[in-house]
Symmetry: C5
Subunit: 363 residues, 5 copies
C-alpha cells in the first residue's frame, strides 16, 4: 500500500494527538495550539442575595477558603497549555486524572461522562471568525455539587452575557443551582453554532447565485473549501448527539429533574444543527454539480461557435482554392460571368449551411 | 479553515435563530418574519348541542369566564410576532415558558412534548404558493383537557373546512373530545403536504420530458432549484416521523385510546410523505444525470459535424493549394486533362471519406 | 423557495391523495382511477365437502342468509370506485370506517392492521403489462373468523388458479381455514412481483448489451425510464417489509400458529423482492455510467480523427500557400527541382507526423 | 410507466422463480437449471470405531434399515431436479413440505429455520470457474438428531476433504456428533468464498494497473462486468449474515453448546466476506472513476495538440494567402526583400506562439 | 457471470485465507507472510517491588517454573509463522485451539472473545512506513488472571515505551494488575493509528493544494492510491468498534471495574479513528471532484483558444483566397485601392470578432 509522502515544510500547526505516543494513559500532556500567553482563572460566586467576582484567581491560594456550600461557584479557566495550572485545579477539586487528560487534549471528541464526584462534559466551540471562516475551540465543563468549572483554550466573550445576567440578577439564574448554570453555558456554546450555520447558509446561497450568473475561475475552489469546512464541522458536531442524548435520559445525579426540559431542549438544538449540516452538505454538492453542468454547457457553446464558423468557411475556402490553381486549361477562368456566378454559389452554400444550423437550434 | 464571506447586501429575510444569542433560555423572543400586521385570536366553543364562535377574542378580558368544562374550546391565534400577546395566553392557561419559547421560534424542529398540564405539538405547514413555490409556516398546538390552542404565523384557510364542519355539525366532531379536534387539525396540516407532493411530482415529470424533448438553457437551473426545495422540504418533514411515532405509542394522558387508530393513520401519512420526498429526490437526480448525458451526446454530435466537414475539406484544400503554387516547372499544370483529373481525384477522396464516416455510423 | 410551475395541460390521470383535502377523516372518498365500469362482487363458499360459487353477488340481498359458520366465505370485490357499494359491504361485516377509507385510497402505503373484529391487509399488485410496462393496482384483504374479503380495482386473473384449486379440491385449501386462504391470496400477489423482476432483469441485461455493442440515441432515455420504474416499484414494495414482518411475529388472533411457517415464507419472499429491486437499481446505475464512459470514449475518438487530419494537413497547406505567393523575387520558384523537392518535404513531414501519432497510440 | 420490452430471443437460462406462479404453496416444483443428468445420493455412516460409505444409495430401499442411532449419518444428494427423488427422501425423514419447496427453489435466499424435528439451512455455494468467472449453486442442509442431509445441484468436490477426513479418522470429526459435521460442511462452503474474494482482489488490482498504464477499449466493459458480478455476489452473501447470526445465538436444540464457538467463528467469516465485498465494490468504483479521469485527461491532451498546431499555422496560412492575391497594385510584391522579410515575420510569430503555449504549460 | 482472469504472474504476496481450504477447523495453519526469520519470545515478570526481564524465552523449558501468582507475567511473541512454537505456548497456557487458529490467521477481523480461562483480543497494528505508506500487522492478546501474552508478526518498537516504564517503575503500571497492562498495550496500538491519520491528513491537504495550484499527470493516480489505502484502513478499523464496544460493557471477568474508565477511553479513541477515516474518505472524493472540474475547466480554456484563433482567421483566409483566384474577369483586381480596402475590411472584421469574444468573456 502506498501513500503520498507529505510535504513536511508547510504543515499547518494543527493539534495532533500523535504527540502523546509513548506516554502513559493519564499523562497530562497538552495537545493543541497555545492560543493565549498565560493561563488565567476567574471565580464567580453567587446565590440569590450575594454576588462576588474575582477578576483573577490566585491559584496558589488555598481554594478551600473561597468555596462555600451556600453559594454556586463558577471557575472559568482561560488557556489550557499550562499543564501545571490545570493539575493544581484538579488537585483542589479532586478531579480524576482521566478528566484532566481529556480536557488537555483539544482533539478529544465531544462527550459526557459521569464520575463519582463530578460530571464531565467536553465539546467544541465554533467561533465565527470574520473573513477567515470559523475556529474550533475545545470547551470542557466539570460540574460538581455546587461548582461549575469551565475550561477554554482562550478568553472568549460567548459567556459574557451570562456573566452580565449574573451580575445584574437578570432572569432566574441567581436563584438556581449549579446545574442550571451549566445548562446556560452549554446553551451559549450551541447557540454559537447557529450563527455559523446562518453564515454557511448565506455563503451557499451566494455561491449558488454566482454559479448561475457569473462563475469565476475560483468559484469551484471556494465551493470545495466550504464543503471541507462542513465536513470538519460535521466531525465536531456529530458526536454531540450521543453526548446530549445521554444527558436527556436524565440518569445523572448531578442534574436535577427540574431542569430536564432544558436539557431536552439542548438535545433538540443539537439535532437541528446536525440536520442542517447534512442538508448544507447536500446543497453544496448540488452547487458543485450545477457548476460542472454549466461548464459542460459552455464547452458545448464554444464548440458550436467553432463548428459553425469552420463548417461554413472551410468548404468556401476550398472552392476559392480551386480557382486559384494555375492549370493552363481551366475553362471557367476565361468565362465572363464566372466571378459573379462564383459569388452566387458561395452565398447559396452559406445560406444552406445557416439554415441547417438554425434547424439544429445552434444559434 | 476558510469560508466565503457572505455577500451581506442581498441577504433574504430568512428567520434566523441566531437572534437569540445571548438571551436567557425561556426568554420569549420571536424568531421569524412578521407575516401579518396584528396578532388576533378567535375562540370557538362547542359541544354536541351548542356552538359559539367569537370572531375576535379580546385577550384583555379574563378567559376564565369564557371557558367551560362542558364544552370543547378551540383558540386559534393568528400571528406570533406579538410576544406580549402570546405571553398573556400563556399566563391564562398556565403554559410552561419552554413551550412559549419554542412556539415563538419559527426555526424550531417539529416535535411533540408532553407536559404535566398539556401536550405540545409543533410542526411545519407547507402551503403551496401559486407560481413562486411553497411557503413554510410554523404551526403549534397546545392540547389541554378541554382546549386546543392552535398558533399560526398568519391566518390561513387550511382549517376553514374544519370550522365549517363544526358550525354545521357535520361528521362526529361535535360529539367528540378536544383530542379528536387536535387530530383533525393535524390531519389538515399533513393533507396539505400531499398537494405539494403532487405538484412536485408534476414538476419533475415536466422537467424530465423537457430534458428529453427540448432542454433549454435554464432547465438545469430549474432542476437544481427543485432539488433544493426538496432538501428544504425534507428538513421540515423528517423530524415529523419521530414526533408522530411518539403519539402512535399512545402513552399520552391527553389522547384517549379511542382515537389511537386515527393517530396511527397520521403516522402512516407522515411516513408516506417522507418516502415520497426521498423518491422524488432520487428522481430529480436521475433527471440531472439525463440532462448531463444529453449534453454530452450533443457535444459529441457537434464534434462530429466539425470533424466530418474538416476532415473532408482540409485535404482537398491542400491539393488545390498545391496547384495554386507558382513554381516555374510544374509539369501537371500544362497537361490538357489535369483539371478534369483533379476533379476526379477530389470526388474519389470525398467518396472514400464519406464511406469511412458511414461505417463509423457518424451520419 | 421556487418550484417550476407544472404544465397543467398534459398531466397524467394519476391517483392523487390531494382530492381528500378538506374532508373529515373516515370520509369515504375514492382516490384513484376508475378502471372498470361497474363494481361487482363474487361469493365463494366452501368447506371440505361443499363448494358454492355465485357469479355475481347481489349486494342488496341480506348477506346474513349467505354466510355460514360451517363454511369459509371468500368475497371478491372488483372495482372500488363505487363508494356506496363498498359502504354496504362494510355495514354487513361491521367493518371500521378507517379500513374502508384506507381501501378506497389507492395511494395508501402497504400495511397490516389488526382490529378487534378483523385483520386488514393492503398492498400493491404489480401486473406486468405487455409492451407498456407494469401497472400498479391496490389490493386489500379483510380477514374475519370465517371470511376473506378481497378488494381489487379491476377483475384480474391472478386469483384464478386459486379459484380453480378450490373448485377441483386440489391441494389442502378446502380442508383449511380462512387464514390459509388469505395466505394463498397474498402469495399469489407476491409471486406476480417475481415475474416483474424477471422482466426487469432481462431488460437491464438487454440495455447493458445494447450499450456495449450498439448504443442508440434513445438508449439512455430508456435506461432512465427503467430506473424511474424501479424507483416507483421500490416505493410500492418497501413498506411491505414492515407489514409482513408484523405478520411473521404471529401476534394476530386471526392467524393460527399452524400456518406461521407460511407467513414466514411470505416474509422471505418480500425480502427477496426488496433485495432484488435494490440490486437492479445499482445495476441500472452501472449501465448509465457505462453509457457515459462509452460516450466519452467516442468523443475522444472523434477528436482524434479531427486532430490527426488537421495536424497533418494544416502545415502542408501552409507550405503550399507560401509557394502560391506572388512575390516578384522568390528564388525557389525558378529552380528546376523545386517541385519534386516540395513533394519530398511534404512526404517527409507527413511520415514524421504519422509516426508521432502512432507512438501516441492514436491509430 | 414504461419498461423496455425484453429481447426474448437471447435470454439466458437463468433460474426463474416465476415458473411457480399459480401453484399451491408447498408444491414441489424445481426452480433452476438441470446441472446433472440423474440425481444420485450417497450415504456415509460413522462413529468413533466404524465407517461405512455407500457409493450410490438406492432410494427405493427402506432407509429405516440403514439408519442407526449409534452412528452419525450423512446423506449427500447430488442434483435437485428430480422432484420425486427429493420427495421420497422427504418422506423417509418426515421433512416438512415447506423445506422441500425451499430446497428445490434455487433462487431461495440463504436462511436458517428451525422445525420441530430438524434444522434447515440453505445457502449459496460460489464455485470459482476457471476463465468464465464464478457459478452460483444452491446448497441446503437438513440436520436431525443423528443425520445431516446435504443437497446440492451437482456433485462438487468441496466436501471431498471432509469425506477424506472421515475415512481416515483424521481430526476429531469421527468422535463428534452430527452438528459438528454440519459445521464442517458449512465451513467448507464459506471457505470457498475466500478463494473467490482473492480472485476478485487480484482482478481489481490488475484492472487498476491496466487503467493507469495501458487502458484498452474494453477495460471499462470488463470493469463493469466485475462490478455486476460483485453485485450478484453481494445479493447471495448478504442474507447469510442474518442466517448465521441466528445460529450464533445458540437457541437451537439441534446444536450443542459445545460447538458454539465454532458457529461464532462461522459468523465472523461470513461478516468478513460481506465487509470485503463492500470494500471491493468501492474499489471498483474507484477504478471506474480513475478510468474516466484518464479519459478526460487524454481528451484534453488531444485537444491541446490540435489547438497548438492550428493556432500556429492558421494565422501563418492567412498571411501566405494575402500575398497569393492577384491585386494589380500590391506594392510589397515588387519589393526586393519582401520574401525574406515574410519569412522573418513568420518565424517571429511562431516563436511568440510557442512561448505563449510554453507558459501555459501545454508542452 | 464473467470475471476477468487475473494476471497470475505479478500477484503480490498478500496473505490469503484461501490456503486453509480443505483443512479441519482448529487446524493450526499460518495464514500470512513470514516477516521475521525465527520466532522468539520474551518474558517480563514484575510486581511492585520486583522486575525480571528474560531477553529470549526458552520455549522448551517448562513455563511452570517461571510463572508465579505474585507477579504479572507478560510474554511477548515475535513472529507467528512457526506453528509449532505457537502450539507449545498454547499447551502451556491451556489455550483453546480456536484462539490459536485465529491468531495464526493474519487476515482475521479484529475481535474480542471471552473464553472460560482467558480473554482473547485480536486487532491490526498499522505501522507508518516512511516513504512507502503503512503496513498492516496482526496483533493478538491473550489475557489470563496474571498473564498477558502478546503475539505479533515481527518485533516492533511500539511496546518499547511500555517496557521502559516497567523497567523504570514509571507511572502506576508496576502497582497494577495484568488487565491494566493489556489496556496499556491496546492503547499503544491505537495511538499508532493517530500517527497514520495525521499523515493522511497532511497527504490530503497536499493533494488538495497540488490540484488547485499545479496538478500533474499522476496527481489523480496518487489520489486514487490514497483512497484505496483509506478503504483498506477502514476495513481494518471498522470491526474494532464492535470489539471495543464489547469491552466497554464491562461484562468480562478478566477486566476489573476499576479500569472501566480506561476501556471507555479506548472506545472513544476507536470511534474517533473511525470518524476520521470516514471524513478523510469524503475529503479525498472532494479532491477527486475538484481535479475533474479543473480538468474540465482547462479543456474549456483550450477550446476557447482554438475557437478564437480559428474563428478570426478562417474567414479572413477565405477572403484572401478569393482574391487569389485566377478568373480573367475580376474587376476588383484592377482597382487602384483594392489592396488598402482589403486591409481595411480585414481589420474591421477582426475588431468585430474580438468585441464579440470580449462580450462573451472569453479573454
Amino acid at each position: 500500500m502506498k501513500k503520498p509522502t507529505p510535504n513536511k515544510k508547510r504543515r499547518s500547526k494543527k493539534a495532533k494527538r500523535s504527540v502523546k505516543i509513548g506516554t502513559a494513559p493519564g499523562s497530562l500532556i497538552y495537545v493543541g495550539e497555545k492560543k493565549v500567553e498565560s493561563v488565567t482563572a476567574q471565580l464567580i460566586k453567587y446565590n440569590t442575595d450575594d454576588f462576588e467576582e474575582s477578576k483573577e484567581l490566585d491559584i496558589e491560594q488555598p481554594l478551600g477558603e473561597l468555596i462555600e456550600d451556600t453559594h454556586v461557584q463558577w471557575i472559568n479557566v482561560h488557556g489550557l497549555h499550562d499543564v501545571e495550572f490545570i493539575q493544581k485545579v484538579g488537585t483542589y477539586y479532586d478531579i480524576d486524572k482521566m478528566i484532566l487528560e481529556d480536557l488537555l487534549d483539544t482533539t478529544q471528541r465531544p462527550k459526557v461522562e459521569e464520575f463519582p464526584n463530578c460530571l464531565f462534559f467536553t465539546l467544541k466551540s465554533l467561533a465565527d471568525v470574520e473573513g477567515t471562516g470559523f475556529e474550533i475551540e475545545q470547551i470542557s465543563f466539570i460540574l460538581t455539587k455546587h461548582t461549575v468549572i469551565s475550561l477554554q483554550e482562550k478568553p472568549a466573550d460567548i459567556f459574557e452575557s451570562i456573566r452580565e445576567r449574573l451580575r445584574n440578577k437578570m432572569g432566574l439564574v441567581r436563584m438556581r443551582t449549579a446545574d442550571y448554570l451549566l445548562f446556560l453555558l452549554l446553551d451559549a456554546v450551541i447557540d454559537e453554532y447557529f450563527v455559523l450555520l446562518d453564515n454557511f447558509d448565506a455563503a451557499i446561497e451566494d455561491l449558488q447565485e454566482e454559479v448561475v450568473t457569473s462563475p469565476e475561475d475560483d468559484t469551484l475552489i471556494r465551493t470545495d473549501q466550504l464543503k471541507r469546512s462542513l465536513l470538519m464541522l460535521r466531525k465536531s458536531v456529530n458526536p454531540l448527539k450521543d453526548a446530549v442524548n445521554l444527558l436527556d435520559k436524565g440518569d445523572s445525579q448531578f442534574l436535577s429533574d427540574e431542569y430536564a426540559k432544558f436539557y431536552s431542549d439542548l438535545k433538540d438544538s443539537a439535532l437541528e444543527v446536525i440536520d442542517s449540516v447534512e442538508a448544507y452538505r447536500q446543497m453544496i454538492e448540488s452547487v458543485e454539480n450545477l457548476y460542472m453542468s454549466q461548464l459542460s454547457q459552455k464547452n458545448n457553446d464554444t464548440m458550436k461557435v467553432l463548428t459553425v464558423i469552420a463548417t461554413i468557411f472551410i468548404p468556401l475556402t476550398f472552392v476559392a482554392g480551386i480557382y486559384g490553381m494555375n492549370f493552363t486549361y481551366m475553362p471557367e477562368l476565361e468565362w465572363k460571368y464566372s466571378y459573379p456566378i462564383f459569388w452566387g454559389i458561395m452565398i447559396v452554400i452559406t445560406l444552406i449551411m445557416i439554415r441547417y444550423f438554425r434547424r439544429k437550434n445552434w444559434f
